[in-house]
Subunit: 342 residues, 2 copies
């Protein structure tokens, strides 16, 4: 509905107010006081780009915890900006081994990890990383965790985080919520190799005190920002705790049901995301045929695995307004049908 | 209306079809056969970023015709990527002097210019630049020209162009239509310092033959793409020539009326954009007071100038569905009121 409202001009005071309100709610969802908290004008992947291009200088040591596709992508992005990357590889389906990551280098500039790995359905302990980061900046990918589970960036010691609008926030894809601590901002790269995502320039545009002077940087996607604001308002109307409980309950119902059907979950027990469930495709079952059947008969899209897991796992999201026990039961019934008849 | 439709998944075949249809229409609006024509998942400024980061190697000579803010920005963006930039400065309000630009260096890698300068209301002759570009790649900013005036990229010899969705295409801000010729693509930077806008990676995602295999790169802003498609369909339903004539007529009515009121236009005669009219603020008139009056009384937003022209010119856009003679008369009447009573 918010997307169908008449568009505001990007310098209209009403839009500036909407941007401020959005940033305030992002701070609450993220558990941060960072003044520099804003939705970047691009999708979640641009959040990762912004995180590294603004903080990595050639030769900087960046330790990346790799336990899925998005950790791999961090390695690629950081190395494009000249980082000396130490990739700490994990078996897919397992959480980040904090001990291995924090001992991978005595004094890295940055430690980076994915909070909720969409490719494997695994949650990692960012708080423990933060407690052991030393002088490094801690950078966390929160694309799939934001709005779906508790996050306390400041208490955990996270310096830089980014997310996407289209997962548990339940809004259309197109914005990358982003936040950076003063400590990280002070260490940032001046004039990074990216004008569009230069936090030094964006600061004057999107943050600052309400009613203060804004500098024109680029034309913000005003419709998208207003819709993100509406999505956040929906979350706060329900209540953050209630939203998290709903995600947890829906995920538990789905995961219990899958195991009752004799299916094996992929993510390691104790580290399973509620909002994104990974399940092993049983021997003899054609993964793509099942997915096609679900789409054709139930208009239900479940994901394939990524890379070598493409045909070996399914990924089932219950995110945002879709995270309900009713939907969990619907998925279970549809999958049961598909396993017999696809 | 398109933005309020239920969202498509970014890998849904229906979305892939929408993306293909959108790219096809962009080719027609731009007058190009370039296979690599697509909406980038960010605003127009990211189009400029993509244009330079994918084509500039450190030390490359880039000649930039600067006759307004967006030419200045090109200088900044190109130099961040290591270009040896030759900025050919022009007086604001004048079009690009092709002779000066093409003789600024004997053999530049890139020549860059803005087709329609939003900051000054001036159109430049890109065709003449193309006819004299030599071996250089020609890069054109079409943010304010696309959909508002005839463009023939292939016939003009333009190799790389970008635009925005929110001006004459009449869609919400959030996408950057982009196109690159095979010739330019072959000369591109492999693994540029920007993963998000890496054309080599985007190629597998968004282009290719209809129905062909797509590679996952990032989650596309599906709602925005569907709305851009709807905006382009509206343009083709009216007819491209009719759309251009409507913009030209509305602009002429506005400009004639402003001169009849005794106001002086800012852009040089013969190089005036119809879709964006610049007018000099008369002596003794408070520019901001007039703009505030128009906003408060008529809900009518006109732009200030940029930089040193902030208080010296107004910028009045008649773009997309707003480009009508009725709106031109409305602006004239409102401005007449404001000049007396603001």
């Amino acid at each position: 509905m918010a997307l169908s409202l008449p568009l505001l001009g990007h310098l209209d005071p009403a839009f500036i107010d909407a941007m401020d309100a959005t940033s305030d709610m992002l701070r609450k969802v993220w558990g941060t006081q960072n003044q520099r908290t804003l939705p970047l004008s691009a999708t979640g992947s641009a959040g990762m780009e912004a995180a590294f291009v603004n903080t990595v200088r050639p030769g900087d040591v960046v330790v990346v915890a790799v336990n899925g596709l998005f950790g791999e992508r961090m390695v690629e992005v950081a190395s494009r900006h000249g980082a000396d990357v130490i990739a700490v590889e994990h078996e897919y389906g397992t959480p980040v081994d904090v001990e291995r990551v924090v001992t991978a280098h005595p004094n890295p500039q940055i430690i980076a990890a994915v909070h909720a790995e969409t490719s494997t359905g695994v949650v990692s302990n960012i708080q423990e990383l933060g407690a052991n980061k030393g002088d490094a900046l801690l950078l966390a990918d929160c694309v799939t965790s934001i709005g779906g589970m508790p996050i306390e960036l400041d208490a955990w010691g996270v310096d830089i985080a980014y997310a996407g609008s289209q997962k548990c926030l339940g809004v259309a894809p197109g914005l990358a919520p982003f936040t950076i601590s003063e400590r990280a901002y002070e260490r940032r790269v001046e004039r990074p190799a990216n004008w569009y995502l230069d936090l030094g320039l964006l600061g004057g545009y999107a943050t600052g005190s309400p009613g203060g002077q804004r500098t024109y940087h680029h034309t913000a996607p005003t419709g998208m920002v207003v819709s993100l604001k509406a999505g956040l308002e929906r979350i706060f109307a329900e209540g953050l705790d209630a939203v998290y409980t709903r995600h947890a309950d829906a995920g538990k119902t789905l995961q219990d049901g899958l195991e009752d059907m004799g299916l094996a979950l992929f993510a390691e027990q104790g580290s399973r995301l509620a909002q994104l469930t990974t399940v092993q495709v049983p021997d003899g079952i054609d993964s793509a045929a099942v997915r096609g059947y679900l789409m054709a008969k139930y208009n239900l899209e479940i994901g394939a695995g990524t890379g070598e897991y493409a045909a070996r796992i399914w990924r089932i999201g219950l995110m945002g307004p879709n995270a309900t026990e009713a939907n969990a039961h619907f998925v279970l019934a549809a999958l049961q049908d598909a396993l017999k008849n696809a």
